[in-house]
Symmetry: C2
Subunit: 247 residues, 2 copies
């Protein structure tokens, strides 16, 4: 039977989601598969909605895997959470159709990025990106609007092809000196959220003008953003499987 799992993890001590060639480097995939193999005594592989990079967190990553034996999902979740390291947690398990695929059927993803304008705190180092200078948040909001809709994001990723993505929403809430950005789109290429956030932060710091942001989005020329916001502020919030088809 095929199982869909929603999991959260603190990315700080992982070399990303994906299993590394050097298996001594911690990855979420390796740790999860090791525990599945311990429970089922067979080699079970997992697939995720997408990779997350070194240091990036997940509040609601979606994965799937197949098990040969029937098993109570309540018991399976309990066993997984007992055996997994404390920086990975299974939020929920669900039996799904054999056709379900965590990556191919994903319709949208929401990412969060947290910027702190507070005095740097030893307790937040893994969780936010601290900016030590004032940010023009109204200007940032102007810039964020430019990303909405469908664009060719060749300047906002490090991939070689397949750059067109649609951004459904991009907003920010301020709470207590923390700026919490949420961006939802039909998909994001490698480093895309961090390169978008890097650009928006540079805009807020007035290192680049609004028209440069517009040009980066709309030009057909290849002039990739060089600055990507650091991993520790980034969270994969959720993956949706309902809604408009991507292709």
């Amino acid at each position: 039977m095929r199982i869909k799992a929603i999991i959260s993890y603190k990315g700080t001590s992982f070399y990303g989601f994906q299993i590394q060639k050097n298996e001594k480097l911690r990855s979420v995939q390796k740790e999860f598969e090791d525990v599945l193999n311990k429970i089922f005594h067979e080699d079970i592989k997992i697939s995720a909605s997408g990779r997350t990079d070194k240091g990036v967190h997940a509040l609601g990553q979606v994965i799937h895997f197949d098990i040969a034996q029937e098993m109570s999902l309540y018991r399976l979740r309990y066993s997984l959470n007992c055996l997994l390291p404390k920086d990975i947690h299974v939020i929920s398990l669900e039996k799904v159709d054999e056709e379900f695929h965590s990556r191919y059927l994903a319709k949208s993803k929401t990412y969060r990025y947290i910027v702190s304008l507070k005095e740097p705190s030893p307790f937040l180092i893994d969780f936010v990106y601290t900016v030590k200078k004032p940010l023009d948040i109204d200007l940032m909001k102007e810039g964020m609007k430019l990303f909405l809709g469908e664009h060719d994001f060749h300047n906002f990723c490090t991939n070689d092809e397949d750059f067109v993505r649609k951004i459904y929403s991009f907003d920010v809430e301020e709470k207590d000196g923390l700026f919490v950005f949420n961006i939802k789109g039909n998909g994001f290429r490698r480093y895309m959220v961090r390169m978008i956030m890097g650009t928006i932060i540079e805009l807020g710091l007035k290192k680049i003008p609004l028209k440069d942001v517009e040009e980066l989005i709309n030009t057909e020329q290849m002039c990739r953003v060089r600055y990507k916001a650091p991993a520790e502020g980034l969270y994969l919030v959720e993956v949706d499987y309902e809604g408009e088809d991507y292709d």
Copy 2:
């Protein structure tokens, strides 16, 4: 001139406050002294209000040190915070009388202990102790009252002598599934807060009755608490230098 500093640190990756014989093991003292030596090009030693153990955090640890040159405290704090690792932060610096001593003149200390009753979260592993079973908080409050006032705490520490301490307050607030305990006393011996909290948690779990807590506090017999609550939930909140003399 003598400087009093209030500092915070995340204890997770330190082998405690105090410098270790094996200097490769990270300690707050070693990292701080290294930075002072870098700034002043001389060997400056720091003294703290007391040690904190491996994994224990500080929101307001107090230290002092002497510098030969006059220097703007604004600039010194700035330099320290630039050069210190991100898990140590200087909150404030103050020029004090040469008679000031962070340890000998401390009149009281406040510690915090955070217990989570929520679903374990990968994002809280360094910061709270998660208890997976229900706690009888009213019973715990009954137990906490027994600690107030002056007692011989020989059963609540691992030291060989000098057990008499006075507890000024011990309270708990619940917020969102987190129980935040604050305990203030004229001093705490090694592991004392964690052994008190361990006892209070055992009481809340109904593993021991209230009369056992009373007996542990009041008996002259040596029957040390074996269970100490884990370090990750513990914070040194503040050190006060005003008030009643300890001796």
